[in-house]
Amino acid sequence: MTARRGSMRHAIRLACPPDTVWDVVGAPERLPEWWEGVESCVIDGDHRTIQTRSGLPMPERMLTIDHNLRRFQYRIIAPLFVEHLSTIDVHDLHDGTCLVAYSVDAEPAVLALVISGAARAALDHLPALLGVDPVT
């Protein structure tokens, strides 16, 4: 059978220190800067509500913002989702580069694909936004 729950992961390696990236992806209010199709977001305590370009509000609950680990985790709590967890990790590769990994787990499974597809595009937007080169 087709999986009910989907698990996806995308990553990009960037030629910059990890904190350069973390300053953006670890700041929940900065999401519209790097995620295409997010028009705005409102932070209220541990809740963030984003407004998509299609007009769809997407409420989220932020679980982890760990500046030492450089990890950001959140759940989308919109009714369409039975379950969701996204994790952004910024790894220091100790060679002047870093790895940004975006993992998405969701039920229904297709939503993992939809969110991770948009996340992949968002990761691809980081080099231009930060003025750094991707490392291939």
Binding site: M1, T2, A3, R4, G6, S7, H10, W35, E36, G37, V38, T52, R53, S54, L56, M58, L80, P108, A109, V110, L111, A112, L113, V114, G117, A118, R120, A121
Partner: protein, 518 residues
């Protein structure tokens, strides 16, 4: 002033649904008439049996391995080569009206321009998209951000709930049963015929043609979403074909044991899907078990499909009438085809997937050259029996327009008869499948040559790479006897497989990413 091009596609239409191809359910006098004046292709195959890769092949003139759209949900890059852009740069006015689907539909962030454009107008950013200066989109119902859906929302909101919901509440392809027989994706649709998407596509095409100056050259891709499931044509039209009178298709053995014996001769994912234990792709309902399909459900699905085909033929007739009123008939080439086929009961299956048999691969294709071109030496009516592909369409459009096909196009201009096909080496056609979805991956490479269809399987979660299929279309037109493991066929199999691998197109170096389910 040159030749104008009306390119007509449907979605998921079998070869045998046209009367000119021997179909007995639908009346298709308009398409039959075009075939009688032009070229009818008896062996036209897609290079992929799902929408996005196949449509990307049509517009780029490249195989999926090369353009990179390897499964539904992988967007065709905006800067991919396009025959429409070639024609536009040559001075053609260009439009695509109806189903585009070069980019995914599941798009809550409106990241894809095809979806975003429906909220902004019909002229793409920068004046054109993939060479189309007018883009007006539709799909299979009322859901989504496309132009037809927006139009319906604003002009006929009462109709929004009339269509079958192709996606259910759990975002799976819907298995909801309906109609008289409880067949999946069959629904009574009370929508007025005049606002059904088939007629909307024809109306919008006519509107665009009316905006074009008489002396302009133009390329118009009119792309009908039907007869793709859901099978929910306007109920007022359903009485055209009484499903109770529909004969069972030859490819559907009514005896269950016979059906299952045929499937068991094929690679294991066939039986796994039939039994409901594996759905390898998003193009079929995960909650529907094909083994439960009844003969009456096959009849009802075929009847409704036939109605949808008739509506398309009539809509095309209206567009042809408008072309005549504009005084263009003599200078218009009409090409009619589809992106891939539909199982429609064959082997006890519906929908589509990694199953490279005629139901999905043998397509209707008709080319009625501009009558004015015949005096210049073009052939009259003919039937081409040698294999051609949708990859050959883009260079054909170039030749019609008097343009040398660019080197990046991998096909050849369509032959006008078998002698032309033989002299230019039309002897094989390729189809490929790749899918990777939540831990399940399937990979097929297929070649049709002479009267043989050979499919080699690459390693995946259901296959170890030794499996295959080999069918003799001359002796076994329904592809019920898999000769892959027949020792007597081994020398032939080895020759065909070697040719298959030698003929593979170049692979795009940067693998494109799956970004949505469809």
């Amino acid at each position: 002033m040159g030749r104008k091009i009306l390119f007509v596609t449907t979605d998921q239409q079998r070869y045998d649904t046209l009367a000119c191809n021997g179909g007995i359910l639908s009346r298709t006098p308009v398409i039959d008439g075009l075939a009688a004046e032009g070229v009818r292709y008896d062996r036209a195959h897609p290079q992929s049996v799902v929408c996005m890769p196949s449509r990307s092949t049509i517009v780029t003139g490249q195989h999926p391995s090369t353009h990179g759209v390897w499964m539904n949900g992988v967007p065709l890059p905006g800067d991919a080569p396009s025959v429409a852009e070639v024609l536009r740069l040559a001075g053609y006015r260009t439009a695509l009206v109806g189903k585009a689907h070069f980019e995914p539909y599941f798009d809550p962030f409106l990241r894809f321009e095809e979806n975003l454009l429906s909220t902004e107008g019909t002229t793409p950013h920068g004046g054109s998209r993939r060479g189309f200066e007018h883009l007006e989109t539709a799909a299979h119902g009322a859901m989504g951000p496309l132009h037809y859906c927006q139009w319906l929302l604003h002009e006929h909101p009462e109709a929004l709930g009339m269509y079958c919901r192709a996606i259910d509440d759990s975002l799976q392809v819907s298995a909801a049963a309906g109609g008289d027989t409880g067949a999946p994706q069959v629904k009574v649709n009370p929508i007025d015929r005049g606002i059904y998407h088939t007629d909307w596509v024809a109306d919008r095409t006519i509107d665009w043609l009316d905006s074009v100056d008489t002396d302009d050259d133009w390329f118009c891709w009119m792309s009908f979403p039907d007869p793709h499931h859901p099978w929910d044509p306007p109920e007022s039209e359903v009485g055209r074909v009484d499903w109770r009178e529909v004969p069972l298709p030859a490819g559907y053995p009514e005896d269950r044991a016979a059906r299952e014996a045929i499937i068991d001769g094929k690679p294991r994912h066939w039986r796994a899907w039939y039994d409901g234990t594996l759905v390898s792709n998003y193009e079929a309902p995960a909650d529907w078990v094909p083994a439960t399909l009844t003969a009456d459900q096959v009849r009802e699905v075929n009847a409704r499909n036939a109605v949808e085909v008739e509506l398309i033929d009539e809509a095309l007739g209206r567009v042809m009438d408008r072309i005549a009123e504009r005084g263009w008939t003599e200078d218009v080439d009409v090409v009619f085809t589809t992106d891939h086929g539909e199982l429609q009961g064959d082997f006890g299956l519906l929908f589509k997937g990694p199953y490279h048999v005629d139901a999905l691969m043998r397509l209707p294709l008709v080319w009625r050259p501009a009558p004015s071109s015949r005096a210049a030496g073009s052939a009259g009516a003919s039937v081409v029996s040698r294999p051609v592909g949708l990859v050959d369409l883009a260079p054909t459009f170039c030749v019609i327009a008097g343009i040398e096909p660019p080197e990046w196009m991998q096909g050849e201009p369509l032959p006008v008869d078998d002698a032309d096909a033989e002299s230019r080496g039309f002897d094989k056609v390729l189809t490929e499948w790749d899918s990777e979805l939540f831990g399940t991956d399937v990979h097929l490479r297929t070649m049709m040559r002479d009267h043989w269809v050979v499919t080699a399987y690459l390693p995946g979660t259901s296959h170890d790479g030794t499996e295959g299929e080999l069918y003799d279309l001359a002796e076994d037109p329904l592809q019920q006897v898999n000769l892959w493991d027949d020792p007597a066929a081994r020398p032939l199999r080895d020759d065909l497989v070697a040719d298959l691998w030698d003929s593979q197109p170049p692979v795009r170096p940067d693998r494109l990413v799956l970004e949505a389910p469809v």
